[in-house]
Symmetry: C7
Subunit: 100 residues, 7 copies
């Protein structure tokens, strides 16, 4: 799973968003009927080596390939490989990790 | 209570907002009739490990799971697990801890 | 007075604003007739432990519970406990301490 | 003169603006007829202890009570004590000291 | 390939964008039919020596001439040499490297 | 010439702008007929002691009283002493020094 | 060529833009027919000593007098000496150096 075709730079990660039907099954993040926007759920496919702090040291990433994560719906940039949608986004835009 | 299904990243926390009726009972934060916006009340369910400062050190969190807190109404991102509403927000958006 | 029900986080303070009549009596901050906005007067009820600087050290607060202070009218967030209005605001928004 | 009723916080100062007539007498800062805005003139009545730099050290103030100063017309916050107008502003908004 | 006629300064790189037809062949980044904007694909022709951090040290570049990369469509500045289009952009605007 | 009546604070300088006719004589900075805005020319009359860097040290000024300088037309604040126009501006707004 | 009449301050440089006809001859940067803006080409006539970093040290310049450079069309400030157009701009606005 670390062999995804795109290797993200800096603190970016590649995420495969979870489809709507899967969400309903797991009981999380049903379609929003309220006014406020909901975050999206996805699986991390590849992670960058991390950003460098002010003194040039690498800041280790807090997520890894395989993690299921929540992220804000409009963060990141979409792209397609062989007709499948992916997103590339900064670790800062990941809200939390879905456990178990 | 630390076993909430979402583990927040960085200095984020997961909060369960208090319902309107409960607020009235406790005597705090009645529905706003004035022009200015009121903060919301909630209970912290899970906390991140904290943000890293400029030199990469972890800054310890000032809140913990179980704390009742005040936060600005429009901060954070809402999500649902099994039809229950939660918010994930940065510790910086928490105004204070409600005591006793 | 340090036992106020809300314990502010970081460099925030809880302030009880002074009523308009009291201001007139003390000779300070009469109702504004000019174009420019006037600051408000209030009494500090509770103070946070202070913000942390870039290296993680606590920066001590310059105000304490009991101080009468001036602050910009639109800073901070209002809330009510038992029908009484309070504000929670950052120490940075406090302009000065009223002496004597 | 250091006993002004408001003690400014941080790098703020309290200034008493000079009246228009006085300005004309001293030959400085006549009423603006041109397009560009002119600075105001005033006398410093009280100074804060200074701001703290990134490492928490106090940065000494460059002005003191009694200094006549130039400042941009729209900087700071106005207030009144006993019907007299004052301004509270940051030292950063003071352009220069009027000598002699 | 490191002898491209423009030597980028700082953390900039010169990129030759991939033509639309080539993309279709490789199976990546088909023309967008959805609402969200897709990143572009290109080949790096020249890289700067890197930006300097706050203490003046060079931060090494993470990309090199020959790398195939993804970048946001509107980042950078276009220019032409002998009727061929190139872009010069900051390394920060490169989202990831396309592998083998 | 260092005895100008206004002593600028921080990294500010007082500049006496050159009149339009003088500019024409010296062959520099003719009235603009093109779309883009031209810088102004002036003579520095007084300089502040410099700004303090993050650790509180004074950063020495690069200009001195007597220097002829170029500066962007809309930078700084105008003021008058005895009917003569001056500007007070930050050293950062000075583009260059006009030599001999 | 280092004796240009304007000595730029900080990390600024003086650039003489290349005329349109010259560009066509060299095969670079033909007039733009596409939607995106093209950078300009010019020759550096004078360079400042560099900016100072946070600790007050000079950051050396990456360009020197005589360099042919690319820069974004709307960066910098235009001025004229003896009817000839020049630009003064920050080194940060220089995209790259044109080689040989």
């Amino acid at each position: 799973m670390t062999d995804f075709r795109i290797r993200p730079l800096g603190d970016r990660v590649v995420v495969k968003p979870v489809e709507r039907e899967e969400k309903t099954k797991s009981g999380i993040f049903l379609p929003d009927t309220a006014s406020k926007e909901r975050p999206m759920e996805g699986t991390i496919l590849a992670v960058g080596e991390g950003r460098r702090d002010d003194s040039g040291k690498l800041v280790p990433m807090n997520v890894q390939a395989g993690d299921k994560v929540l992220f804000a719906k409009y963060s990141g940039t979409e792209f397609k490989v062989d007709e499948v949608e992916y997103l590339i986004l900064s670790e800062k835009d990941i809200l939390g990790i879905i456990q178990g």
